[in-house]
């Protein structure tokens, strides 16, 4: 219920780094969660409405602000939708550059997530380790695009910047760096006993639930649902990679049950896959133009004569991003609908959070890699029906307390 809200809906780009804070309401019996409810909307910025007032090129940069971490994925889906409606053929070199930057984004996003997940269970050494090694890929993105996030790399019909010989050298260096680190990092993330103790059998989402609830990305694949836009639908240069397929916990010899460990395993495996995809693209990138040419004004002038609808789908690090545009002979779209992965995966929280302990709430919430800002308060309903509040710090303290107990038990 929102009747106790005393502040108005945020309209306008008030917080460009995250899409939305979020409120969870749990029903608790003892230490067990027996029900969960999710309340969105605390920082809805009406980006879709704002887009109706911007021209087609301005919208690219507006959509980068849907999400800081996925700041390549949203404009990518939008550009694909606009190219779909206008019938624009993207030059092959641009498709490869898009794939490379997209996979660099996946690399930094998954490393960020592993740090967040480690932090949520009190394993701060791992948090520092993963965020430290993530700096290399951010430096690389900064060299390629000029920014660590919000890259402004895309345009309708291609990309805005080429990969120079100097950039290529940097990319080869980071591939070598991550290639060498991968075995050590994956050993910690997949085999560490305390990490396994906190993630195995926790926050289960079955394959049937994932399918019915339209889960996407590593959340779906962790449940064994082999769903990946890069493989299901021809996008950028992915369809030219013959060995590409969705990863699964089966790749490490484990039948997926849809717990936190399986979702983590998918992301760890996708770090390796991202390195391999970038390697493939660097070896096979063709020469040629990087966009259709003509500049922004010419593009806007041609698009404003169009009428029709287009769909753009892209596999962001967190899952499917989809944009739907409707054009009607105007300088701006009549409508644009944006779907972020958390919109799909948020619905899967309810089954995941049911029948877990309070101390596991942080890691289960984090396990879908949510795009959520300022989730700093929760309300839980005790079994006697009374309500109480618990701060995020208190919740983390509970989690760390449990982690210490688990460590003692497993290290005996």
């Amino acid at each position: 219920m929102k009747s106790d809200i005393t502040y108005p809906l945020n309209i306008g780009p008030v917080h460009p780094a995250f899409k939305e804070p979020i409120k969870f309401t749990f029903r608790i019996e003892g230490e067990k969660v027996v029900g969960a409810d999710i309340d969105f909307g605390y920082t809805h910025r009406a980006i879709e409405r704002i887009a109706q007032e911007r021209n087609y090129i301005q919208i690219i940069y507006l959509l980068e602000r849907v999400c800081g971490i996925c700041s390549f994925s949203h404009p990518m889906a939008y550009c694909l939708a606009m190219e779909d409606v206008a019938g624009i053929e993207v030059p092959p070199r641009a498709r490869y550059i898009r794939t490379i930057v997209g996979e660099l984004e996946r690399l930094h996003s998954h490393l960020l997530w592993t740090g967040v997940a480690a932090h949520e269970i009190g394993f701060d050494t791992l948090f520092m380790y993963t965020w430290n090694i993530r700096e290399k890929v951010l430096d690389c993105l900064e060299e390629l695009t000029g920014n660590r996030i919000n890259y402004a790399m895309l345009t309708i019909g291609g990309v805005r910047r080429d990969i120079t010989a100097e950039n290529a050298e940097t990319i080869h260096q980071i591939l070598e760096y991550y290639g060498e680190l991968y075995n050590r990092a994956s050993e910690i993330l997949l085999d560490d006993l305390t990490l396994r103790a906190r993630t195995e059998g926790v926050g289960i989402l079955t394959m049937e639930q994932a399918e019915r609830l339209c889960a996407v990305g590593p959340t779906a694949r962790g449940s064994g649902l082999m769903k990946d836009v890069r493989v299901d639908y021809p996008v950028n240069a992915y369809y030219e990679i013959p060995w590409l397929r969705p990863v699964s916990p089966r790749d490490i010899g484990k039948e997926p049950i849809g717990d936190v460990y399986d979702r983590m395993a998918v992301r760890v495996l996708e770090i390796q896959q991202a390195i391999q995809i970038i390697q493939f693209c660097m070896e096979n990138i063709p020469e040629g133009n990087i966009n259709t040419g003509g500049g922004a004004v010419k593009m806007i002038n041609s698009l404003k004569k169009l009428e029709g609808e287009g769909v753009g789908r892209y596999e962001a690090p967190r899952g499917e991003v989809c944009h739907y545009v409707i054009l009607d002979n105007q300088e701006h779209p009549v409508q644009i609908k944006v779907k972020a992965p958390t919109y799909s995966n948020g619905f899967t929280w309810a089954p995941m959070l049911t029948n877990i302990e309070i101390a596991d709430i942080p890691i289960v919430i984090a396990s879908i890699d949510p795009c959520v800002a300022c989730a700093d308060r929760m309300t839980y309903i005790q079994s006697d029906g009374s309500c109480a509040s618990i701060s995020w710090e208190e919740l983390r303290a509970k989690s760390i307390q449990k982690y210490k107990g688990v460590r003692k038990r497993w290290m005996k």
């Binding site: 929102k2 339209c214 639908y233 369809y239 769909v311």
Partner: protein, 164 residues
């Protein structure tokens, strides 16, 4: 038409309730195509059509529903992704549009077929003002109760009225 088998099944079961259909194919070589099928269905048969699609493969909804507003009706658009085979790049977009008269802005929920549409239906109710009949959770998704009744933030005409 690459989507002819799909259209044939829908036509066999729903007859002339399918008002129009068209497909768009973008070819990428080596037999890889991006296929989009647009189907217009009347409101009474919409629920059955989604049920039929759900039996034909893995049905997934890709975005919250966009819409087009006309003088007397709203065209609500459901963008589905349908995967009928396990082969790579075989997922097709099936875009179903349904006309809803403005004097009776209602449509039946499809959460009984695709439960993952619940958030999208809740958003459609609050942002566009189309009532979703039999929806299991009719609460607003993004906006608070402070928003006056009858104001739908993403309805262009309503938005203009509210800002005036």
């Amino acid at each position: 038409m690459k989507t002819e088998p799909l259209i044939t099944v829908l036509q066999d079961k729903l007859g002339n309730h399918i008002q129009a259909s068209r497909e768009k194919i973008t070819e990428y070589g080596s037999g890889i195509n991006r296929i989009t099928l647009w189907v217009s269905i009347d409101r009474e048969s919409f629920h059955s059509a989604v049920g039929i699609l759900n039996t034909m493969g893995r049905l997934h909804i890709s975005t919250p529903m966009p819409y087009k507003e006309y003088e007397d009706r709203i065209e609500l658009i459901y963008p589905f992704a349908l995967k009928m085979t396990d082969t790579k790049f075989s997922e097709i977009m099936v875009i179903i549009s349904v006309d809803i008269p403005k004097d009776d802005l209602k449509i039946r929920t499809i959460t009984d077929i695709v439960p993952g549409t619940l958030f999208m239906e809740r958003e459609t109710m609050e942002m566009i003002g189309v009532e979703i009949e039999d929806i299991p959770d009719p609460r607003r998704l993004f906006t608070g109760n402070y928003l006056p009744e009858g104001v739908y933030p993403l309805r262009n005409s309503k938005h203009k009225e509210s800002t005036q």
